[in-house]
């Protein structure tokens, strides 16, 4: 999202993102965090594998 379309206050809080989360049910919010959790683990794993491959090529 561009800076122009973000609705943030002086502290940089993205009010629109909060409003979006508040429209979800608690279960949906947990699922969103689970998805983020799994994605982060997957990306970290991919990063580690990439680094290991690079070290193998050296």
């Amino acid at each position: 999202m561009s800076n122009e379309t973000k609705v943030a206050d002086e502290s940089g809080v993205d009010k629109g993102l909060i409003a979006m989360f508040l429209r979800m049910s608690p279960e949906e919010r947990l699922r969103a965090n689970d998805d983020a959790f799994r994605t982060i683990l997957e990306l970290r794993d991919a990063y580690r594998r990439q680094k290991a491959d690079e070290r193998g090529l050296e």
């Binding site: 206050d9 502290s11 940089g12 809080v13 993205d14 009010k15 993102l17 909060i18 409003a19 979006m20 989360f21 508040l22 979800m24 049910s25 608690p26 279960e27 919010r29 947990l30 699922r31 969103a32 965090n33 689970d34 998805d35 983020a36 959790f37 799994r38 982060i40 683990l41 970290r44």
Partner: protein, 181 residues
């Protein structure tokens, strides 16, 4: 993330909550996930709970944690198994399990225990169970005194979430959340 040398499955943090609830453990969800459930758009990588230290509950919690092969979370690969005594003290027990990291806290900021926090919780109906969650207002109060940079960073987000939530309640919206309180 250090996992005590153990690889966890691809389960999400919801599975940790379901496991605790199905095991009949008395706990209050605190920390980042408590904020997530109440609408704060933050991402957290572990489950923080404050548990009841009654002997029966310690036994239930220990049995559950053993079933998911909990070990102390460390920076090295040493596997240090959890013991009953770890759950009886007043400290924080940081664990890695097969289904995700769990922080088991006897007390949180200001030395507040499970019993102290009970009156500041909201009940969430979650997959057929009642999940007890520390309310956002109390979470903010506790985080105000925290020296953790992550908490300081999150505080404005939590405050704005509470502000919008209060606004929604006063307009009579967000029925599902307000019914849980």
């Amino acid at each position: 993330m250090p996992t005590g040398g153990r690889k966890q499955t691809s389960a999400g943090l919801s599975e940790v909550l379901v496991g605790l609830l199905e095991a009949g453990v008395d706990f209050i969800l605190v920390g980042g996930l408590a904020a997530v459930i109440q609408g704060a758009p933050v991402t957290t990588m572990d489950v923080d709970i404050v548990h009841s230290q009654s002997p029966e509950n310690i036994a239930r919690l220990l049995a559950f944690l053993k079933s998911v092969e909990a070990v102390h979370r460390r920076f090295d690969d040493k596997l240090i198994e959890l013991k009953e005594g770890d759950l009886l003290g007043k400290g924080h027990v940081l664990l890695a399990t097969l289904i995700g990291p769990i922080d088991v806290l006897a007390v949180i900021e200001g030395g507040r225990s499970y019993e102290d926090l009970l009156e500041h919780t909201v009940d969430i109906d979650f997959r057929g169970h009642t999940l007890r969650v520390l309310d956002l207002k109390t979470l903010i109060e506790l985080k105000k005194t925290s020296t953790d940079p992550k908490d300081k960073h999150r505080l404005p987000v939590l405050r704005e979430t509470l502000r919008q939530l209060d606004e929604k309640y006063s307009r009579g919206e967000d029925k599902e959340d307000s019914e849980d309180e």
